[in-house]
């Protein structure tokens, strides 16, 4: 869910996002996508690139006749300011304006608040990058997870850790968000299912800086963990990692997409060997690499994370669903999305079939080697390995 680029050129990007999104004329045969997203506030770093990626897909699709080659796509982009109430109001406005699909912000509260409105109206919806799979239950059958769910990242990391021969895990969680609180626990569950054992679980607070208590606890564990799993991100992750290595703990450190940031690879020796997942790594010659190039060409700046790609993919899923459904009827679209199976998208394959609206999509495993991020593997986890979302 969380990627943390400090700059994000947000202001400049915002204007662009909005301007290029509205050329398509409303026709009978059109598809209106209502983006109730956060272009300002704490969610802007995630929602903005997702919308940017979606805009590229919309442009490409419209150049070829629209979604499914016949439904001209109109993007209605509204800023909800990372605010729960505003999301619920804006979603209603977008529905009143005729939206056929709704895109929601990247965090649970606003996604649920807006989602409940769209659910009542029977309109299919995605969150840009909310990774809590429980939202499908909280909102209802018109809601689809788009980004890699926490359960998927946790399970993928656990599977990989077992493949690496690691058997004792320590989990570091923070209950302050579901992402930092639950993702390591999903890892632990799958890790144990696959024969590993969780030796202990520690808790930290956002911004605590001093991790000596946790590090001392880890150093004194018997048996020593050979892998430490956390979803901490900046500034907590670098602080923790430095203090951990300074204390002489050599266990492998696994993290999730929250540390997919230049900061992590720039930490020097301490970050050597750190493993983390994200939604895709642009390996040379792949479709994702091509998307990264297309993004750079379109926005005249390089792409620094995978949110834009998953935003692009979302539009491809919608386009395919509208082809299958043959129109923009909400229920038909919902069923078509739910039956998506093995669709080729920029990050690999995506399937919603039999996954309870949490997509099976590729997850990249990456390792920091010599101060650079190297791609280890891209895989789609089997659904029977997924833990139940909390």
């Amino acid at each position: 869910m969380k990627l943390f680029q400090k700059n994000n050129r947000a202001a400049a990007a915002l204007a662009t996002v909005a301007m290029i999104g509205t050329p398509a004329l409303a026709q009978d045969n059109d598809l209106k996508i209502g983006f109730a997203v956060s272009l300002t506030g704490y969610l802007a770093p995630y929602d903005t690139p997702t919308v940017e990626g979606a805009q590229i897909a919309i442009k490409e699709l419209n150049e070829n006749g629209g979604a499914a080659g016949q439904f001209a796509i109109e993007a209605m982009v509204r800023d909800v300011r990372s605010d729960t109430v505003q999301t619920s109001i804006v979603v209603q406005e977008l529905i009143d304006a005729g939206a056929d699909v709704i895109v929601l912000p990247c965090d649970d509260d606003p996604a649920i608040a807006g989602g409940l409105v769209a659910q009542d109206a029977g309109i299919p919806m995605f969150s840009t990058c909310a990774t809590n799979a429980s939202l499908t239950a909280a909102i209802g059958d018109f809601y689809f997870v788009n980004y890699v769910a926490d359960i998927v990242q946790g399970a993928t990391l656990a599977q990989f850790a077992r493949e690496e021969g690691l058997s004792n895990a320590y989990l570091l969680v923070s209950p302050e968000t579901t992402y930092t609180g639950n993702l390591p626990l999903y890892f632990g569950e799958v890790f144990e299912t696959l024969g590993g054992s969780v030796v202990d679980t520690g808790t930290y607070s956002f911004g605590q800086q001093d991790f000596s208590a946790e590090v001392t606890q880890i150093a004194s564990l018997n048996p020593q963990p050979d892998v430490i799993m956390t979803s901490a991100y900046e500034p907590d992750f670098p602080a923790f990692l430095r203090q951990l290595r300074a204390a002489g703990v050599t266990a492998a450190v696994y993290g999730s997409d929250g540390i997919d940031s230049p900061t992590t690879s720039g930490l020097g020796d301490v970050s050597e060997g750190v493993v983390f997942t994200n939604a895709g790594f642009p390996v040379e010659g792949t479709r994702l690499a091509a998307f990264f190039d297309a993004y750079a060409a379109h926005y005249d700046r390089p792409l620094s994370n995978s949110f834009a790609a998953t935003g692009y993919d979302m539009m491809l899923v919608i386009s395919e669903a509208i082809r299958v459904a043959g129109g923009t009827d909400g229920a038909a679209l919902r069923d078509a999305i739910a039956n998506t199976d093995g669709l080729e998208v920029s990050t690999g394959e995506i399937s919603y079939l039999d996954r309870n609206r949490v997509p099976a999509r590729s997850v990249s495993l990456n390792r920091i080697t010599g101060g650079a991020i190297t791609h280890v593997d891209t895989r789609v986890i089997a659904s029977d390995l997924l833990p139940e979302s909390k």
Partner: protein, 602 residues
């Protein structure tokens, strides 16, 4: 009911009517939320406005209200899934939303009462910092208290039953409640405490109690707003009740004017309108062929500019401390004018006695072993050069300041130290050297606050007390706007409002012209002659002191050097020396020098 209140109520109901006319669900949502914000800002204003203490902690109570309402109202099945660890008592009930809302709000109001007791012992900035602590602690409890919450995870599936009409009813009720509290006895006392703590204590006002009640009432309203929020949006998590909403609500309160209910409502209205306009402009638009590009973030910029503009141009907010009633030609609000007699035990005989009083500041002895009695029915002048200890003596004798040795007694009852409140209740009224009125309160409110705070054995009327100092025609004027002499007289009226046996006047004639001084002297003399008060006057206006006083006490370097009649004082060589630094001895006939009754600038 008064005009202003009717207009505010009509505004709320009119907003709900607008939602009904337009019919679009999005408009209904916007209006419902606006009305809930009115509830919240007004609730915050009940505390911030009446006590003058900025609170960052109030969204905590909104949060507790939201959680409690959700738990009480949600259907059993869903509750079981979301809150598996809930105690059976809570897990099994599913109340009507209105009942759940009120139960939650009353519970939070009681929590607020207890917490208010702790908070109200702090003043100014320390109280504000403490509310910040409340915000952070409650947020941590919400995240950590997973028996009653879902930790950081969202609570969802709260029945969305709030319509614009219900929200309008709630907002109207809260506006009426806020207005009622503001002008109630406790609201009046809290506002007096806000204006001047020292003067409020000396007028017998328990700042602690009034603040605690204001806190409790405002937390009740915040919980109501929180519950409505939950029943309107249907989903929330602890992050909804943290810094974000704290600053939004405070911004609205500051823009509108924290010290008035009208201000709170207008702040909410103004910021909401501004936001609604700006967010429609944000995505860019075409106007007469000109294409205006998108500029997201405009709403935030707009509200920030509104806040800055307010702080620059109208630091007190749009409405300041005034209500709609004050600017409308309808009937003005008046405080209760009559205060009935009640059973109180006060010493009815005996003097205000200061015995062997010694007070030192570090190594400096300000008052040394001073013994002085103020009898009922006498005017006692207290004079002495600058720095002789007059003000210190008065502060100790009126219970404002602690002292090192000695005692102060009223009749046969020894008074506690540094408890000005207790002195007021025992019948000691006082004024201050530098005027300390409840500046933004009306003239009659200044008097009524003291009257309401200190019960008396006899019935009192506000206008009677004002008439005593010739201010009855100015009853509804704001105290700040009075002339200097009028302010001095109002201070005396406020001291008289507690039905005192003793009156301590600290330089009552300072800065007055001759006419004003003469008028004042007449008033003071009548208080002794008609009311039989014992009056202690500290002043530099020697002609007035000599003319008025039955006895005069002279302090020099902290010691009482004489307590005599004015005639004796005039001839006392030691007094002359204290004032002029030398004996005016002509030498030849060794005649006692006569003290010159002129105003001495010291």
């Amino acid at each position: 009911m008064r005009g202003g209140l009717v207009i505010l109520a009509l505004l709320c109901l009119g907003a709900a009517g607008l939602a009904a006319i337009v019919g679009a669900p999005a408009v209904a949502n916007t209006i419902s939320y606006f009305l809930i914000v009115v509830v919240l800002v007004t609730g915050l204003g009940i505390y911030v406005g009446n006590t003058g203490i900025v609170s960052f902690g109030h969204p905590s109570f909104m949060g507790i209200g939201a959680y409690l309402t959700a738990i009480l109202v949600m259907p059993d099945a869903r509750k079981g899934a979301l809150f598996p660890n809930l105690p059976d008592v809570l897990a099994g009930i599913s109340l009507h939303p209105l009942v759940g809302l009120l139960v939650a709000a009353v519970f939070v109001g009681l929590v607020g009462l207890i917490l208010g007791m702790a908070l109200s012992r702090l003043n100014g900035a320390s109280a504000t910092i403490a509310t910040l602590g409340v915000l952070i602690v409650v947020h941590s409890l919400m995240v950590g208290g997973t028996t009653f919450t879902r930790g950081a995870q969202a609570v969802y599936g709260v029945p969305k039953v709030v319509t614009p009409f219900y929200a309008a009813l709630a907002a109207t009720a809260v506006i009426i409640l806020a207005n009622w509290f503001k002008f109630s006895k406790w609201g009046l006392l809290a506002r007096a405490g806000r204006e001047d703590e020292a003067a409020a204590s000396a007028s017998g006002i328990s700042i602690f109690l009034s603040r605690t009640l204001a806190f409790s009432v405002s937390t009740f309203v915040m919980a109501l707003g929180g519950g409505l929020f939950a029943l309107q949006i249907g989903v929330f998590s602890p992050s909804e009740f943290y810094f974000g909403i704290t600053f939004s609500l405070l911004a609205m309160l500051i823009v509108g004017g924290a010290n008035s209910t009208t201000g709170a409502v207008s702040g909410a209205l103004l910021i909401t309108l501004l936001t609604e306009v700006l967010r429609r402009v944000e995505p860019g638009f075409e106007l007469g062929g000109i294409s205006v590009p998108a500029l997201f973030g405009l709403t935030t910029i707009g509200t920030s500019l509104a806040l800055i503009a307010t702080l620059y141009l109208r630091p007190e907010g749009l409405f300041g401390a005034s209500e709609l009633d004050d600017v409308l030609p309808f009937k003005k609000h008046r405080v209760a004018q009559t205060y009935p007699a009640s059973e109180v035990t006060k010493a009815t005989e005996g003097a205000l006695a200061v015995r062997n009083l010694t007070k030192t500041y570090g190594g400096v002895t300000a008052v040394s072993d001073a013994t002085l009695e103020l009898k009922r029915g006498e005017i006692l002048g207290l004079i002495g050069p600058n720095g002789s200890g007059k003000s210190t003596f008065l502060s100790c004798a009126s219970g404002v300041q602690r002292f090192d040795r000695g005692e102060v007694a009223i009749g046969d009852k020894t008074m506690p130290q540094a408890k000005p409140n207790a002195f007021a209740h025992a019948g000691v009224g006082r004024t201050f050297q530098n005027i300390r009125l409840f500046g933004r309160l009306s003239v009659e409110e200044n008097v009524a606050a003291a009257m309401a705070a200190v019960p008396s054995n006899r019935a009192r009327q506000v206008h009677e007390v004002l008439a005593r100092v010739n201010l009855e025609d100015l009853a509804t004027r704001t105290a700040d706007t009075l002339s200097y002499g009028q302010q001095r007289r109002l201070e005396i009226a406020r001291a008289l409002a507690i039905d005192p046996a003793f009156l301590l006047l600290d330089e009552p004639a300072a800065g007055m012209n001759d006419t004003e001084t003469a008028e004042l002297a007449g008033i003071i003399a009548s208080l002794r002659n008609i009311e039989g008060l014992g009056i202690l006057i500290v002043d530099h206006d020697l002609p007035m002191i000599l003319k008025l006083s039955d006895r005069i006490a002279v302090l020099n370097e902290g010691r009482l050097i004489a307590v005599e009649t004015p005639e004796e004082i005039k001839r006392n060589p030691e007094v002359a020396q204290a004032y002029f630094g030398e004996r005016r001895n002509t030498g030849a006939d060794n005649q006692t020098p006569e003290f010159q009754p002129t105003t001495v600038e010291t």
